[in-house]
Amino acid sequence: MTYGFVAIVIGAAQIGLAGLAAVLDYSKRSRARTAGGIIGSHEATGSARRLLSGELGAPEVVAALRNASRNDTAQALVWLGMERVRPTERAALTELLQKEPWVRQTVDGAHSLLWWKRLAAARTLSFVATKRDRSTILLLLSDSHPAVQSAATACLNRYADEELLIRVIDGLSSASSAVRAYQLGVLRTYAALAGPMLFERIRPDAPPHKLYAYIHAAAELQDAECMVRVADLSTHPHPEVRVAVARVLRSKAGDTVHVKLLSLLRDPDWRVRAQAARGLSGVDDQRTVKELARALTDTNWWVRFRAGLALAAMGPLGRAALAETLTHSDRYARDMAMLVIGLSEASVAELSGG
């Protein structure tokens, strides 16, 4: 009995660990069930997969979903949504699901303190959302967990209005890179609606961190009016904004853009100059070549590197400028020209892309 506390401590730990092992086991089986039973790792077994192939009707799939755990069901619905189930079948399935009490219970999880319940709610809504769910979607779009935000953004594929799109646009600057990439993809599908909203927000007096996100969104949406405003920001006082402008302008063609990039090549911030140099590789006129050759004498290595690659990618005109730089009085320009001339064409393409 003297050392009973040793047995108590060790025993308590074993009970705790045994309980958690049971939780892990349940979780593994549940995941396997989702993969094999609902989504179906094999075509013949998955009820959701069989819906896609027309072997099962919506009522049978709903019955299978009813018997699964809420998390598994939510994942199966996401999968069905991503696999682009046919509109008629999707409508039939949605109609049936909206009548199911467990679906509403899952959606009510949007208010839970537990993130995985909010995730299940967002995932479920991404398949069944209607206008009456807009306040829930708004709430989930502002969630602190990135996975919930992504799933909530997917709800916009089901139902979207101005307020929801504004929430997405305004949240772009604070979203993680994965969420932002997903949100930009969704915004692109609503380019006609989102473009004017973005246009309103791309103003020089907007906070720089927001402006940075808006500029990338404008490039993603390929909105011509927004891009004109973006080009006008090339003299913005904040360097991060100018970096973003130089980065997105490189994918745009046109004389105005070309002139802006040439002026950005003389920007006081080296990051802006480097991005501008990258953007100029597609324009092989004498003035651009001259400016890029001058950039080979820049004080910053990255600017010289980008200018060298841009000249190499340009073709004979650029290559000639590089060869000329080999006799330049600036040692660093000579070194960079030698480095770039020594690269194979594949290496130039690889390095220019990264």
Partner: protein
């Protein structure tokens, strides 16, 4: 106080010490469960899969130093170049003494020399030449006649052009999607500074459909190391994620930001465990500059490595690691129990001192004390049983639960026979193997190299 009383008090203290340390290990094991559960919730996320191949994924430089002439430098380079990731490059440093590695690479991958025009952010021993490949534009090779592994990695980081880097030791085989897995935490959380991947012993494993499948473990030393890896480097480190004070070692299978490495002055070229040293310095540096950064470890095995099979090699590796840890913590002694460094300072650093550096000495002293106490009649059999239960029995049970957790968590846990074999090793590991390593670790305390 008589000698007998002193012995009894000391032995009771040691028993309580191990009861506390093992209970802390049990807590870490328990914490790994919610961590695994969260990971699964996100790993199956279809929206994340939609991003694979997109610009959202950060471009990565894979850096590696070939110092000890790996069997096949070309195969190693090709393995890295074949990783599944949209934008990455491979920087390979052929360090002094790497045999025919450079000539092999030149002829097999059609390398050509390029001028040395790179930014030098970290001071290193001179680089003799830089090579690019006509067959693989993503590859850059550095020929460096001398210097340590840390120095070679610094040279590779200087030559890298992407903001994120992954270090690869030459004896590892990466999973094809290792970079995708490692980059996931960066995509989801802005406060992530580094991500550690799990390294698993590859002895007995084989390739199946491009994936490494663990095979039957042959040899008790490999079996015991597998248990060690599972317990210490996988489940316990997942538990550390929850305490938010994980330590990752950027020397191997760790994705980190180059700017942070520049911030701390790079790897210590004089250190025999440069990754470990850098891991501790990164914690200090980020806290000192006011960055509240996380360094999570992901549960997926991202790389496999053949572990040594003889005890002397294992012992030397553990000695090196322990000396490295002691040096790294000693150089940053101000972090010890310092709340300014958060849970890392208050929980992790004291644990590393007590549970890793001091524990082997205490353990060996405890065995001597137990024998002396029993021989002189100072300690009774009930004490001896309680003592052995706290020090050895508790450890065995934790190792057994580690195997159980692995078996019920992962699809690639192996056949029931493999699990039973691992359970046997979980018992064997605490009955002999651990004590031999405790001896190696203790001797490491009294030698610098």
């Amino acid at each position: 106080m008589t000698i007998a009383n002193a012995l009894l008090v000391s032995m009771t203290t040691i028993m309580i010490f191990f009861l506390v340390i093992n209970s802390f290990h049990a807590i870490l094991l328990m914490y790994s469960v919610p961590e695994l559960w969260s990971h699964w919730q996100l790993a199956d996320d279809e929206y994340f899969h939609a991003l694979v191949g997109s610009e959202a994924l950060p471009p990565i430089s894979v850096v590696a130093a070939l110092r000890d002439a790996p069997n096949d430098a070309v195969a190693f380079a090709l393995m890295l170049l074949a990783l599944e990731y949209p934008r990455f490059e491979v920087i390979l440093v052929v360090n002094g003494g790497a045999g025919t590695a450079l000539s092999d690479l030149v002829s097999a991958l059609d390398l050509y020399e390029v001028p040395a025009a790179f930014t030098i952010n970290l001071k290193t021993e001179p680089v003799r030449a830089y090579y690019r490949s006509r067959l693989h534009p993503r590859l850059l090779c550095l020929d460096k006649p001398s210097g340590s592994i840390g120095d070679a990695l610094n040279a590779a980081i200087n030559a890298a052009r992407y903001p994120h880097a992954v270090s690869a030791a030459p004896n590892v085989v990466f999973e094809p999607d290792a970079l995708l897995r490692l980059s996931r935490p960066f995509l989801l959380d802005r406060s992530v500074a580094c991500v550690g991947g799990i390294l698993r012993p590859a002895n007995g494993a084989h390739l199946e459909d491009g994936q490494i499948v663990p095979g039957q473990i042959r040899g008790w030393t490999v079996g015991c190391q597998t248990i060690e890896y599972l317990r210490n480097f996988m489940f316990q480190r997942l538990g550390w994620n929850r305490i938010a004070s994980n330590i990752v070692f950027p020397g191997n299978t760790v994705l980190f930001k180059r700017e942070h490495v520049f911030g701390v002055g790079g790897f210590d070229a004089t250190d025999e465990t440069p990754g470990l040293d850098l891991g501790v310095r990164l914690h200090k540096y980020l806290t000192d500059i006011g960055v509240n950064a996380r360094m999570p470890v992901i549960p997926d095995p991202v790389a496999w490595s053949v572990v040594p099979e003889d005890l002397a090699s294992i012992g030397r590796a553990r000695q090196r690691w322990l000396r490295g840890l002691r040096r790294a913590l000693g150089r940053n002694a101000g972090m010890f129990a310092n709340p300014e460094y958060g849970t890392f300072g208050v929980i992790a650093v004291p644990y590393f001192w007590l549970g890793i550096i001091i524990a082997p000495i205490v353990e060996l002293l405890g065995y001597i004390g137990l024998v002396v106490g029993l021989a002189t009649g100072v300690l009774g059999s009930s004490f001896a049983w309680a003592y052995l239960a706290s020090v050895i029995g508790y450890g065995i049970l934790l190792s057994v639960w580690t195997v159980v957790f692995q078996a019920v968590s992962f699809q690639r846990a192996g056949q029931p026979g493999d699990v039973l074999r691992l359970l046997a090793f979980a018992v064997i590991e605490s009955l002999g193997y651990r004590q031999i390593l405790a001896l190696y670790r203790t001797t490491a305390q009294f030698a610098d190299r």
